[in-house]
Amino acid sequence: MPLLEYDALGVTLPGTARPILDGIDLHVGAGEVVALVGESGSGKSVTARAALGLFPAGADITGQVRVAGTGLVGADAASLRDVRTNRAAMIYQDPRAALNPVRRVGDFLTEPLRLAHGWSRNRAAARAAELLAAVGLPDPGRHLNQYPHELSGGMLQRVVIAAALTTEPRLLLCDEPTTALDVSTQAEILAVLGRLQRERGLGLLLITHDIELAAAVSDRIHVMYAGRIVEAAPVADLFAAPRHPYTAGLLGSSPPLHGPLARLTPIPGAPMGLLESAPGCAFAPRCHFAEPGRCDQSPPPPERHGPAEVACHRTAELTAPAANAPAPAAFHASGKEDS
């Protein structure tokens, strides 16, 4: 049984032209790191929050999300609390917004232990200090008594990670965990997350807009566009041969971590807003390869192509070795040379 499993999850807000999420299928097993990559507004944060049973207010929800077998759509308060306190924890983008500014760091860390598990103050504080040491903070005893504004952003993100681990959940949801931090801190936080994930065999869902970062830490990548997963593949396969034009566009528009720096090719146009909808493939208006009369008629269903699952009408022709119309250089430009 996977730790986290999305089963055709759909989320629609009344008064919008298209669903926020449409048929999300995804699973994360123990010890597995899965990345969900997409531009802002693609629905990746909504997807992550759904794993804690947090849905936008007033939304219409179809399908199911299960954490360790517990369905969260239509769940009662007790099972929601169980999942939130014991099974899964979220690490947020901006640690400064995630902590209550008027309460001490120690309160933040021990709250679930004391409230949900009834631990004594001392026992919870000892555990919190242990976790602060585990995330590499130098002076746990002092940090427990400090207020959030007395710590740097990188230190606070370590606190947030420690807080996520207090009740020993098996599943971590990381929503852009390094985006609000400066570059050198980003690397440290990623290293801490990676170490803890390996040591504890955690399942980890990483939400990011940065496909290179996703590649560096995860086993599989799911690429999202306008509320749908357009391509899902193991990292090496995805980089060697992106099969969806949007994936190729993402790779072509972000600088590679390794190898020579090629010219970056931005994806033309802008992502589709919630008030727009298209009868066909949502990416068609921005796609070099969109075929009028086909791509703009019906949404492409996800299909298996080799190691990948791709939702594109033209995958077969575009990735066939002897395609009559060879893809432009940009299409495969960022294949990882060393993988």
Binding site: R84, A98, P101
Partner: protein, 322 residues
């Protein structure tokens, strides 16, 4: 150690500023009475005929003929020694007159403050948590009416309905003994607090709504903290800053509002003394009460400033960084 030193320095700085404010306002209070129409000397001989020579003699006796600054100095010296002068009207020490009237007014203010805190904060919290509901809308309607109702209108309404028609509460006087006093003070306190309850409700509701939107509230919920606990520990707790500030300032200004309510309910307190003294040009008493009003305001203000770092630790950091 340095944190303690910084805190002590901040407290001292605040106390010095408070003393300076009080000094300046004492000067303003003293001089403002000279702008008021009427000559105290001719008031003192009211009803009798007095020639210019007699008036001059009275002025000399009471020190009305001395230069302004000298008179201010004498007055200030007296005030600092607890001597607020003599009431020409009551032929008593001003300090002892005010002292005998103060408990009744403090009881009135205390009961009002309690009503404001319980009803104002309570309905603000309910309104914020049920935003847009029927409860919230009716509360907001009541609050708008309450904020627009002057204390004397509220006093008249309460007296006629709860006092005269239903006969639940006495409508006049202070009462004797603790229970009777409390019974007598309910209606005046309610009349006094109506407007303030409305203000505190509004402030509480909007502060709560601001805090409910914060990400750390969602984070706390997403960690399985029960909603009730999140509201108490993360929403109401964080909204306390504006609520405490506004409530404290309102209560500190209430001594003035007691004038209307005490008069309406025939109570003997500092407020009704003020009305009576203004009416009869009893300058020494007016001066003393105004000074008391200002002092209450300044002291509460300073207290709020000193309490704030306990409510929001970030303000302490900002203060010591200066």
């Amino acid at each position: 150690m340095t944190a303690v030193a910084a805190r002590a320095a901040r407290v001292l700085r605040r106390l010095a500023a408070m003393a300076a404010t009080l000094l300046v306002t004492s000067f303003l209070v003293f001089s403002s009475l000279f702008l008021a129409p009427g000559d105290p000397a001719s008031f003192l001989v009211k009803g009798r005929s007095a020639g210019p020579a007699e008036l001059a003699e009275i002025r000399r006796q009471y020190g009305f003929d001395e230069p302004f600054l000298v008179r201010y100095w004498h007055w200030l010296e007296g005030v600092l020694h607890g001597d607020l002068g003599r009431s020409h009207l009551l032929h008593q020490d001003v300090a002892s007159v005010i002292w005998s009237r103060l408990p009744a007014s403090l009881l009135l203010i205390g009961v009002s403050a309690l009503m404001i805190a319980v009803v104002g904060i309570g309905s603000g919290v309910v309104g914020a948590l049920r935003r847009g509901s029927r409860t919230d809308r009716s509360l907001m309607l009541l609050v708008t009416v309450g904020a627009a109702a002057p204390a004397f209108v509220a006093a008249l309404l309460l007296r006629s309905v709860l006092g005269v028609q239903l006969g639940w509460f006495p409508t006049i006087g202070n009462g004797t003994g603790l229970l009777d006093r409390l019974h007598h003070v309910v209606l005046p306190a309610a009349a006094l607090s109506v407007t303030f309850v409305a203000l505190v409700t509004r402030v509480t509701r909007s502060a709560m709504l601001d805090e409910l939107r914060r990400e750390h509230v969602e984070v706390a919920l997403s960690r399985g903290t029960p909603r009730r606990t999140v509201i108490r520990r993360h929403v109401l707790r964080n909204a306390l800053g504006p609520i405490v500030t506004v409530s404290a300032l309102l209560v500190s200004g209430m001594l003035v509002s007691t004038a209307i309510v005490e008069t309406a309910f025939g109570m003997s307190g500092v407020g009704s003394l003020l009305v009576q003294s203004v009416d009869q040009l009893d300058f020494q008493v007016v001066q003393a009460i105004v000074l008391l009003v200002v002092a209450a305001f300044v002291v509460v203000n300073a207290l709020v400033d000193l309490v704030h770092p306990l409510i929001d630790p970030r303000t302490a950091a900002a203060g010591s960084a200066r």
